[in-house]
Amino acid sequence: MLDVQRIRADFPILQRTVNGKPLVYLDNAATSQKPRAVIEALKDYYERYNANVHRGVHTLSQEATDAYEAVRGQVARFIHARAPEEVVFVRNTTEAINLVSYAWARRVLRPGDELVVTEMEHHSNLIPWQLAARDTGAVLRLVPLRDDGTLDLDRYAALLSPRTRLVAVSHMSNALGTINPVADMARLAHAHGALVLVDGAQSVPHLPVDVQALGCDFLAFSGHKMLGPTGVGVLWARREILEGMDPFLGGGNMILQVWWDHAEWNEVPFRFEAGTPDIADVVAFGPALEYLAALGMDNIRAHELELTHYALERLREIDGLVIYGPQDAASRGGVFSFGLGDLHPHDIGTVLDAEGVAIRAGHHCCQPLMRRLGVPATARASFYLYNTLEEVDALVAALGKVQQIFGRARAAV
């Protein structure tokens, strides 16, 4: 089990108050807070060895390059990649998926080919495929959602055919918390000759993720949701796939030889990292990975399971509260989308904020999913390794305040 009080002491922001109340930060699915080691690594880089990478012969450039490349190795170990060369640094999950859409999908897709996505995808794992389909004449197919918030896997199996070129699926839903059986889905897809892209934006920060065990071909995730700085995303892909891909963006660093009218591409992963990358933030992502690895992703998952069990139990006590997505802790992560009577999520969010409780209110970049659920938006509380059972109690108490305020008016009518 995690020593949560000790962990909390590593996160300076958790000491602050909001509207006079201790901050209860439950918007981790949007972005996580950062430990002191990450914040200090940023400062240390700029104060001691700020220089461009892969360029100079001077000491600073060598130190910066070593630090930058060391984090590539850390990422590879973290997700059990075969080699650091399979790790491409981008800005975020969205850019990683777009890279695949532009540099892979547009090259291989032919009219009538099919792309399979699911009804629970974030816009970032939907729109890039809509665009690729529009540009190539490929067809987008949707795996439907069942009423319990899980994917209809029978319908998924029936959708696959020799025309399927890619299955793009989120490992854990950012809106429902559902954990999808991506390893089984990948096996099925491969049997039809399709490749599999896993959106790991919500899973890599919260679950042990092993790309060999998942058996996927692409994995996309963001550093800022897993204690790292903003500005760093990761695309992992099997080396042989990356080597067969054209560049995404053209410019410096991604070439070997350049003539006036053509160029020879650099080796992977540099082929996909045109221009000066976000060196400082990649370097500071290192301590974030180290922090997670030291605690152990199994232990983090166990802690979040405990929070999830408790949150499910306490939230169910609230009159009129509906939790969307799976109702058992084992098949979901610590992301709770909910509604409270007929109240709009923004009213819930505003009252909670006055109590120091930070949640997300909105469509969570899942507008088609919201339509499927029949709501304009939901309130969403999402947990991480530094959250406590007492913070679940604080959430429940704050929701009581919401009912008090809006019940007061109802009583007066």
Binding site: D347, T350, G362, P376, I405, A409, A412, V413
Partner: protein, 159 residues
């Protein structure tokens, strides 16, 4: 019972919650002279407005919509504030309300003239909620502009 911080009480004033839970002039006019709709896609607030205009006055008005308490209460109060008033005055109220919501120092706005709407002042302290309060008024603005353009076209045809 203390329902929260003073600022929260200021946002969710009784009169706002009352309009939210018992909206006035809710529905659609059967035969409107002008109708318009708008939404805030980010939060999912939606407002539809229909107006009947006679002799340069708002003879009747109705709204449909769904969304947060602030957007719906603002719409309800707005219909009360403009019903029966000449269009010139309606434009004045519209301008005054928008200034109240968006200008830091709107001291020249005559609060008494705004009636219940004055209660929405507290929204200013919640910048992300200002667009909720203003949505129905943007729809009203569009309705008035549509009506005016329609009148101009009709005049042009007569000439």
């Amino acid at each position: 019972m203390n329902p929260g911080l003073p600022s929260l009480d200021e946002l969710y004033r009784e009169v706002i919650l009352d309009h939210y839970q018992s909206p006035r002039n809710r529905g659609r006019l059967a035969d409107p002279d002008v109708a318009s709709a708008g939404s805030n896609p980010l939060c999912g607030d939606e407002i539809e407005l229909s107006l009947r205009i006679r002799d340069g006055q708002v003879a009747d008005v109705a709204f449909e919509g769904r969304g947060c308490s602030i957007s719906q209460a603002s719409a309800s109060m707005m219909t009360e504030a403009i019903k029966g008033r000449p269009l010139a005055e309606v434009r004045e109220v519209l301008g005054a309300f928008k200034r109240l919501m968006t200008e830091r120092d709107a001291t020249d706005v005559d609060l008494a003239a705004l009636g219940d709407l004055e209660a929405l002042q507290g929204v200013r302290r919640y910048p992300v909620r200002v667009k909720c309060a203003v949505l129905p008024w943007n729809v009203l603005q569009e309705s008035l502009d549509l009506y005016r353009a329609g009148q101009a076209r009709a005049r042009a045809r007569e000439e």
